[in-house]
C-alpha cells in the first residue's frame, strides 16, 4: 500500500509538472468543456508510469515528458502508402493540415470538417462524441495519454458518414520537422446503415499522440487500414476507441515497420447485439531500439457479438514486441464469440516478445479462445526451400512473409493487402 501511495504521489507530481506550462486551446463552449473534463481526468489519474500494471513492458517516459526527442526524417524514393487507391485525401504535415495537398472535403454521404473548425462552432454533431468514447474507455484500465490528447488536441478530422461512401478517406501524415510533437484527434460517426473506409499512412511526427473515436451506429460498417511509416526514430502512441451498435461492423488493421516506440491501444465496446469487431496488426522490427506494443481491450456487452484479434510480429536484432490483449465478456453477453491470437517470429536470440493475453468472462454461454506463441524460423521448412534452390536469405524472407500472411488476410480489400505486402517485401529486401 505504501508503495502504491508513493507511486501515486510520484505520478501526481510528474503530471503537475507536465501540465504546468500548458494551457487548454480555445474553442466553442462544448469543446472547452470537453477539454476541461479531459484535463480533470488527466489530473485525477496521472500520466502513466513504468510501474503501472499496463506499462510494465513499455516505458512511457518518452511519451509523457515535455517535448519530442529528435527523430530523423526518412527520405525515401517511394510512393505514399495506398497512393494507388482512389480516395479523398487529407494531408497533415507534422500535424498541421495542408489545404493545398488535401482534396476538397466534400463527398456524397460524408460530412467532413477539421477539428480546428468544428471545435469553434457552437453547434456541431461532434460535441456528442468528442472525448466521450475516450472517457468511457478509461475504466477499468486508465488511459491517461488519451485524456491528455482530448485536452490538448487542436486538429484532426471529424467525419460523419450517412450512407455507403463511394471511396475511402485517406489520411496522409507527413513528417518534415525532426522534433515535431503532434497531437491529433479524430472523431468518426458512422450512421445507421452507412459504410466508411478510412486509410491512414505515414509517420506524422517525431512524436505522435493520436486518438480516434469511432461510433458505429446500428447496421453501420467501418473499415480502417493504416501503415505507420518507417522513420526509424519516431515515437507514437495511438488510441482507437470504438463503440458498436447492433449488427454493426468494425474492422481495423495496422502495419508497423520501424519506429523506436509505438504503442497502439484499441478499446472496443460491443453494445448492440450481433456486432462484429476485428482488430489485426502486422509488425516488423529490427534492432534493440525497436519496441512495438499492441494493447487491446474488447468489451462484449451484448448478445451474439463476434470479436477477433490477430497480431503478428517479426522481430530481429534485439527488437521487442509487446501484446496485451483482453476480452471482457459482461454478464448477459450470451453467445459471445471471442478469438484472440498473438504470435511472434523471433529471428535471433536477442529479440523478445512479451505477451499478456487476458480473458474475463461473466456470461455462461460463450465461446472464447486465445493463443500466443513465440518461435524461430522453421528449420525444416527452410531446408526444404533451400533444397529446391532458394537461397537462405530469400527462403527466410519467404517464410517470414508467410508468417505475416495470416494477419494480412484480415484485410478485406485485396488491393490494400497487396500494397502492404509489397512494402513488407521491400523492407525485407533492404535487409541483408
Amino acid at each position: 500500500m505504501a508503495k502504491s501511495n508513493a507511486l501515486m504521489q510520484l505520478k501526481a507530481d510528474a503530471t503537475a509538472l507536465r501540465l504546468a506550462d500548458l494551457t487548454l486551446p480555445p474553442g466553442a463552449t462544448w469543446a472547452q468543456e470537453a477539454r476541461q473534463q479531459a484535463l480533470g481526468r488527466v489530473t485525477a489519474m496521472g500520466l502513466p508510469h513504468r510501474r503501472d500494471e499496463y506499462w510494465r513492458y513499455t516505458d512511457p517516459a518518452s511519451l509523457t515528458g515535455a517535448g519530442a526527442a529528435e527523430a530523423a526524417v526518412l527520405v525515401a524514393d517511394e510512393s505514399p502508402v495506398f497512393g494507388d487507391i482512389d480516395a479523398l485525401q487529407i494531408v497533415f504535415v507534422d500535424g498541421v493540415f495542408d489545404a493545398e495537398a488535401s482534396d476538397d472535403l466534400t463527398m456524397t454521404g460524408l460530412e467532413i470538417d477539421r477539428l480546428a473548425t468544428a471545435s469553434t462552432k457552437d453547434i456541431h454533431w461532434a460535441k456528442d462524441l468528442y472525448g466521450v468514447l475516450e472517457a468511457r474507455g478509461q475504466a477499468p484500465v486508465e488511459r491517461t495519454l488519451a485524456a491528455f490528447n482530448t485536452a490538448f488536441a487542436t486538429d484532426g478530422v471529424v467525419i460523419r458518414a450517412t450512407a455507403k461512401v463511394a471511396k475511402p478517406v485517406r489520411l496522409l501524415y507527413l513528417h518534415a520537422d525532426p522534433t515535431s510533437d503532434v497531437v491529433l484527434h479524430h472523431v468518426i460517426r458512422v450512421e445507421p446503415g452507412a459504410d466508411l473506409t478510412v486509410l491512414e499512412g505515414g509517420p506524422a511526427a517525431a512524436r505522435l499522440s493520436k486518438v480516434m473515436e469511432v461510433d458505429v451506429a446500428d447496421g453501420g460498417a467501418f473499415h480502417h487500414v493504416r501503415s505507420q511509416g518507417r522513420d526509424h526514430e519516431r515515437r507514437a502512441h495511438t488510441h482507437t476507441f470504438a463503440r458498436l451498435g447492433a449488427e454493426s461492423t468494425f474492422k481495423s488493421f495496422t502495419l508497423t515497420v520501424n519506429g523506436r516506440l509505438t504503442r497502439n491501444e484499441c478499446v472496443i465496446e460491443l453494445t448492440g447485439n450481433d456486432a462484429i469487431a476485428h482488430v489485426a496488426g502486422a509488425c516488423v522490427g529490427d534492432g534493440k531500439d525497436f519496441l512495438h506494443d499492441d494493447t487491446v481491450f474488447i468489451t462484449h456487452d451484448a448478445e451474439r457479438c463476434e470479436s477477433r484479434q490477430v497480431f503478428k510480429k517479426v522481430l530481429r536484432n534485439g527488437a521487442t514486441g509487446v501484446f496485451q490483449g483482453k476480452i471482457l465478456v459482461k454478464a448477459g453477453a450470451q453467445k459471445t464469440d471471442g478469438y484472440q491470437i498473438s504470435q511472434s517470429l523471433l529471428l535471433d536470440d536477442d529479440s523478445q516478445f512479451l505477451a499478456k493475453p487476458e480473458l474475463e468472462i461473466y456470461a455462461d454461454d460463450v465461446a472464447c479462445s486465445h493463443g500466443s506463441t513465440s518461435g524461430a524460423i522453421d528449420e525444416t521448412a527452410l531446408f526444404y526451400l533451400r533444397s529446391r534452390g532458394v537461397p537462405a536469405k530469400a527462403a527466410t524472407d519467404l517464410l517470414t512473409l508467410a508468417f505475416l500472411a495470416e494477419a494480412l488476410e484480415e484485410i478485406d480489400d485485396e488491393r490494400l493487402a497487396e500494397d502492404l505486402r509489397d512494402r513488407l517485401e521491400a523492407w525485407m529486401a533492404r535487409r541483408s
Partner: protein, 251 residues
C-alpha cells in the same frame, strides 16, 4: 555423374557414427536402388548429399560431375543439379505452391546465370507437367503441401522434380504412404523423367516400387555401409528372403 567415396558421417550433436564408409557411383542415365533394413543409414545418405544440417562429415567425398557437393550450401547443390524427393514433404503454410515452384525455378536459373522464366512460359510449363501427374489447379494454388494427402504430397515432389529438371534425382522412400494407384502415378512421373543424361538413386524398403521404376543396379545397405551390389534380381531376393540371408552372407 554422382560419385561417393568412403563417405563417413556422424551426428553433429552426439557421438554416433551413421555412415561408415559408403562407396557408390551412379552414372548418367542409370537408375540405382538402395535397399536396407531400418537404421542402416539410407535416409542419412540422402540428407547428407542434399546438405541438411545436423550431420558432420568425418571422411570421404561426394561429387556430382566432379563438383564437390559437400562443400556447397543446399541451394548451391540444387542449382548444380541435385534433387531430393523427401520421404516426408514439408508443409509450408502461407506460401502458395505456385509461388514456391516459380521462386525455386527462377532461383536455380539465376544461380546458373540464366534468364528468369517469364510468367507465361512458367504457367504453360507447370500446367502441362501438373496435368501429367493429375495435379489440379486447386493443388497448385494451395499453400505448399498443406492439407495434401500422402499421395498428393508425393506427386507434388515429382512435379517439383519435373519443373527443376535436375541431373541427379534422389528419391527417399517415395513409395511410403502410397496406395497402388498413387504409386503407379508417381512411378510414371519418374519414368517420364528418365533420360540418358539423368541419374536416379531410389531409396526404398520394398521391391514393389522397383516393379514400376526398374533399376539397373541394386545396392544393399546395412550398418552404414553398402554391403552388396547386384542387378534387379537382388531386390527380388530381399523381397523373398528378407535381409537376414544377405547380412549373414557378408558377415
Amino acid at each position: 555423374m554422382l560419385e561417393i567415396k568412403g563417405l563417413e558421417v556422424k551426428l553433429e550433436e552426439e557421438d554416433k557414427q551413421i555412415l561408415k564408409g559408403v562407396d557408390l557411383k551412379v552414372g548418367a542415365g542409370e537408375v540405382h536402388a538402395i535397399m536396407g533394413p531400418n537404421g542402416s543409414g539410407k535416409s542419412t545418405l540422402s540428407y547428407v548429399l542434399s546438405g541438411r544440417g545436423g550431420y558432420e562429415v568425418t571422411g570421404g567425398s561426394a561429387t556430382l560431375d566432379g563438383i564437390d557437393l559437400l562443400d556447397l550450401e543446399p541451394e548451391e547443390r540444387a542449382a548444380s543439379g541435385l534433387f531430393l524427393a523427401f520421404q516426408y514433404p514439408v508443409e509450408i503454410p502461407g506460401v502458395g505452391n505456385m509461388t514456391f515452384l516459380r521462386t525455386a525455378v527462377n532461383a536455380q536459373r539465376k544461380a546458373r546465370g540464366e534468364d528468369e522464366m517469364s510468367a507465361a512460359d512458367f504457367l504453360k510449363l507447370v500446367r502441362s507437367k501438373a496435368k501429367d501427374l493429375k495435379i489440379d489447379a486447386d493443388m497448385l494454388k494451395r499453400p505448399v503441401n498443406v492439407g495434401f494427402s500422402g499421395g498428393e504430397k508425393k506427386r507434388n515432389e515429382i512435379l517439383q522434380m519435373a519443373m527443376l529438371e535436375p541431373k541427379m534425382c534422389i528419391l527417399d522412400e517415395t513409395d511410403s504412404g502410397l496406395d497402388v494407384d498413387a504409386m503407379r502415378l508417381v512411378s510414371d512421373g519418374v519414368n517420364a523423367l528418365r533420360s540418358p543424361d539423368r541419374g536416379f538413386l531410389v531409396i526404398t524398403h520394398y521391391q514393389r516400387l522397383l516393379d514400376h521404376i526398374k533399376p539397373d543396379v541394386v545396392h544393399i545397405m546395412a550398418a552404414g555401409r553398402i554391403i552388396k551390389t547386384g542387378g534387379p534380381e537382388l531386390a527380388l531376393e530381399v523381397e523373398n528372403n528378407g535381409y537376414a540371408g544377405i547380412l549373414e552372407e557378408v558377415a
